[in-house]
């Protein structure tokens, strides 16, 4: 594959990005942009990993001056494979693979020499080349053997192709790692494929490596996979009992991503989470406590002074959901809640503000829901807008996400003097009710509701919109909370520290 090279030059930090910046807008991308622009003294090389090339359109951000390199790789790109030919395969390299897989199964940390051997040789002639993996006798016998020993599902074909599809991107990643530009440190913004790339490159070149996790990648994959329709489970038609078994292929995929996560954690020197909940999750998933840190997101409150001043005296009767129109934001719950809100307060409008190009099916479903609930007049899809223009026009920021980390939109809304209503996920409760004792004393800056609960969402929205006194209190608490605990400067200081430690190593 030919990477889109903007300028080939050495950089201080290689940012390993999976499916985000600079092609997708959203919280994580905004954060990456913040980090790059906030540290002009550091140069960055961006390595973008995507799935299907057709899912990514135009670049959404103008790259700052200190980005010296950008390359994009698409893991689902079909490449012309070499002509199949019989081959033996390197017995020694496959033995190392077997031992690696045994370690994964046992859940033990992978011994460093095994990891070193596997990564150094992956995709190379001396180790397991892509062709070896696809056509060699050793590869066949390993797959056959594993199928006989572990697989509990009848179809060998399903197993065989699952293993092939699952491992194919790894060879591409190994190639990407070998061809990375010369950098002094690696920083991946998730685990998953980007995390694995970091682990491989760090192992191959002896570079320091940091991970920042916003959501928890492994967890999100796990939920996707438990429900994915493209994996079929063998149906157990004989017994009418309620058993808890997930299909083997499904579990295989889940374990694959768990293993990717663990590999990245083992290799990383610093593992950052945004808040306590995710920090605990990382420890549970195999991160070494000594290497973990919590660095909350931050914003520059001064940037929202204009929006705050532009706010009208009366509370605008508008509920706003600012976010991409994608399933994880659970826009449908917002729309359903609007049905109940409009029954009580007919003049209230619901605005959905965010790009709609990421999941067109979901956008269609949301629009259909709006019309099936007869809300065409009240619910509006505004597309991507400048937050500073939108925030003064909203009476309440609503976030119905089913999973979040530490959403920047809440911080931005608070800084612009807008109370928020959010689901009880990620750090939302901390952001709205306070974390530490003195933070809690500031009072709630909005309301927290359970996920996927349109009734509760509607009830709390109505309460805040129709009660100016409570609304004002929430506004004050929000403004103060952001000023005290979530400033950009403290976040930059922490990251400067991580980079410095890495670069001086």
């Amino acid at each position: 594959m030919r990477p889109n090279r903007r300028k080939a030059a050495k950089a201080d930090i290689a940012l390993l990005l999976e499916g985000t910046y600079p092609f997708i807008r959203g919280g994580v991308s905004a954060w990456v942009h913040q980090i790059i622009t906030g540290m002009p003294e550091t140069t960055f090389a961006l390595i973008f990993l995507g799935g299907d090339r057709s899912h990514y359109g135009e670049q959404q951000y103008t790259l700052p001056e200190n980005v010296t390199h950008l390359e994009c790789h698409y893991l689902m790109d079909t490449r012309r494979d070499s002509k199949p030919s019989p081959r033996r395969g390197n017995a020694c390299a496959f033995a190392a693979q077997r031992s690696l897989h045994e370690t994964f199964k046992s859940g033990e940390p992978v011994p460093a020499p095994v990891l070193q051997q596997v990564f150094a040789e992956l995709g190379r002639k001396g180790g397991i080349s892509r062709e070896d993996f696809l056509y060699s006798e050793e590869s066949w016998s390993m797959i056959d053997d594993s199928y006989r020993r572990y697989c509990t599902e009848p179809s060998f074909l399903d197993y065989f192709w699952s293993v092939r599809i699952m491992h194919a991107p790894l060879f591409q990643l190994a190639e990407v790692a070998r061809n990375l530009p010369r950098v002094r440190m690696l920083h991946s913004i998730s685990t998953g494929y980007a995390g694995l790339l970091g682990a491989i490159a760090s192992q191959q070149r002896g570079l320091p490596y940091a991970i920042s996790e916003h959501g928890i990648y492994t967890k999100e994959r796990k939920i996707d996979l438990s429900q994915a329709q493209w994996i079929t489970d063998p149906s157990d038609l004989v017994s009418g009992n309620l058993n808890e078994q997930l299909g083997y292929i499904r579990r295989l995929w889940i374990r694959f991503f768990e293993a990717l996560g663990r590999l990245a954690y083992h290799q990383a020197d610093t593992i950052v989470s945004l808040y306590l909940g995710n920090h605990e999750r990382q420890l549970q998933d195999g991160a070494d406590k000594a290497r973990t840190r919590i660095i909350p997101n931050g914003i520059d409150p001064a940037r929202f002074d204009g929006a705050r001043r532009a706010r009208p005296e009366a509370i605008p009767q508008v509920l706003g959901l600012v976010g991409r129109v994608v399933p994880i934001k659970d826009i449908k719950t917002f729309i359903r809640a609007m049905r109940t809100v409009c029954d009580e307060l007919p003049d209230v409008e619901g605005w959905i503000v965010g790009p709609e190009d990421e999941d067109l099916d979901y956008v269609r479903e949301c629009r259909e829901l709006v019309s099936s609930l007869g809300l065409e007049r009240q619910v509006k899809f505004l597309g991507f807008q400048n937050v500073n223009d939108i925030l003064p026009k909203l009476g309440l920021m609503v976030l119905t996400s089913i999973s979040e980390a530490l959403p920047l939109v809440i911080l931005e809304a608070h800084a612009a003097g807008l109370p928020c209503l959010a689901t009880d996920v990620g750090a939302c409760r901390e952001l709205l009710e306070g974390g530490l004792e003195e933070d809690r004393a500031l009072g709630p800056s909005g309301a927290v509701v359970p996920i996927a609960d349109p009734e509760a969402t509607a009830r709390e929205s109505i309460r805040l919109l129709s009660n100016p006194q409570q609304w004002k209190q929430a506004q004050q608490a929000g403004l103060e909370r952001v000023r005290r605990y979530y400033t950009l400067e403290s976040m930059f200081a922490d990251y400067r520290d991580i980079y410095q430690q890495g670069l001086e190593r």
């Binding site: 009848p154 309620l242 109940t340």
Partner: protein, 332 residues
């Protein structure tokens, strides 16, 4: 004659022809006569050897004698002398010599075991529905709660949805997310069907439109009945279902439409309207056992216990839904 005798006879004749060819070469003939004689002799010899070789073929190669003969003949005609020698060597030696006997005439292979075995239920945790709810509420280990959620996939949707809704409030992210995505999938399916029907309504007329309205009403009812919609949303869907059904019933009375309307009205707490609808269903030919239990329930709600009894007494026990039978036994 045996193949061997054929070979001997053939060889003698071939030698004879060869000798004749020698004679022709020695005779003082004109060049074109000599070539003609040689060609004739060559043709004769090829014909002869092909015939002999076909006879000498081992039995398993004799299936298509004509094609074999044609092949051997053309081969020899095209390559004089060498062709004949090759064909003779190939057939007489290679095909007729005994093949090398294998040291092991057969190999013993154990009956392969199927790699897939049906699930051993004794090794599985099997839940009852009540137990499942208990696990979700009480189990301290999130993995156990997750597994209990997965087990709901095999339950009746209405009960599963009830449990899933409860799991949405679980303290652990994973449990909540899984419950959410399972609920979402069920909801999505119904919403998709509803959306398509709604679109179809805008262009359909006549009996087809009535059919679409009926299916849409059923889907709206399903949303509320399964518990996928709550509160204001549930009321919205129920009202829509009732409205659609009333529209259908203007065009023609079908007892199943009246019955569904009765259930919708009951869910909306419009008991009088529900009673009217159920009565209309009976009048339009609904089976008593399908309608009277609802009428009994409505009678119970207005504390008319005598009517409860009389409605239940009008049902034949063996035609009642098994779930209603104990109720009947208790009342009668």
């Amino acid at each position: 004659m045996s193949p061997r005798q054929w070979v001997v006879l053939g060889s003698v004749l071939a030698l004879l022809l060869l000798a004749l060819a020698g004679v022709v070469l020695l005779l003082p003939l004109a060049s074109h006569w000599r070539w003609l004689a040689l060609a004739l002799l060559h043709g004769l010899m090829c014909l002869l050897i092909s015939l002999v070789l076909v006879k000498a073929l081992p039995p398993r190669y004799r299936g298509q004698a004509r094609q074999t003969f044609a092949f051997l003949l053309t081969l020899q005609l095209a390559i004089p002398l060498l062709g004949s020698l090759g064909a003779m060597l190939g057939i007489l030696l290679a095909l007729n010599l005994p093949r090398k006997a294998s040291d092991i005439p057969w190999q013993q292979v154990p009956i392969p075991e199927l790699p897939f075995q049906p699930m051993d239920m004794q090794l599985q945790t099997v839940y009852s529905q009540g137990g499942l709810r208990q696990v979700l509420r009480e189990a301290g280990n999130p993995d156990k709660r997750l597994q209990a959620l997965i087990a709901t996939r095999q339950m009746h949707p209405r009960e599963a949805i009830d449990i899933l809704r409860e799991a949405l409030k679980d303290p652990t992210d994973d449990v909540r997310l899984l419950a959410y995505s399972m609920l979402e999938q069920k909801e999505k399916q119904l919403a998709r069907q509803g959306g398509l029907l709604q679109q179809a309504l805008t262009r359909e007329t006549g009996p087809q439109r009535v059919q679409t309205q009926r299916r849409l009403a059923q889907i709206r009812w399903e949303m509320a009945y399964l518990g996928l919609a709550q509160g204001g949303l549930r009321l919205y869907y129920l009202n829509q279902a009732a409205e659609l059904l009333r529209e259908i019933l203007v065009t023609g009375s079908r007892h199943s439409d009246w019955r569904l309307l009765g259930r919708v009205e009951m869910a909306l707490d419009n008991n009088l309207a529900a009673e009217d609808a159920f009565t209309a269903a009976l009048e339009n030919g609904a089976v008593a056992e399908q309608i009277r239990p609802y009428l009994a329930e409505l009678a119970f709600m207005r504390r008319d216990f005598r009517a409860v009894q009389s409605h239940l007494a009008a049902c034949q026990p063996d035609r009642l839904h098994p779930a209603t039978r104990p109720l009947m036994e208790a009342w009668l």
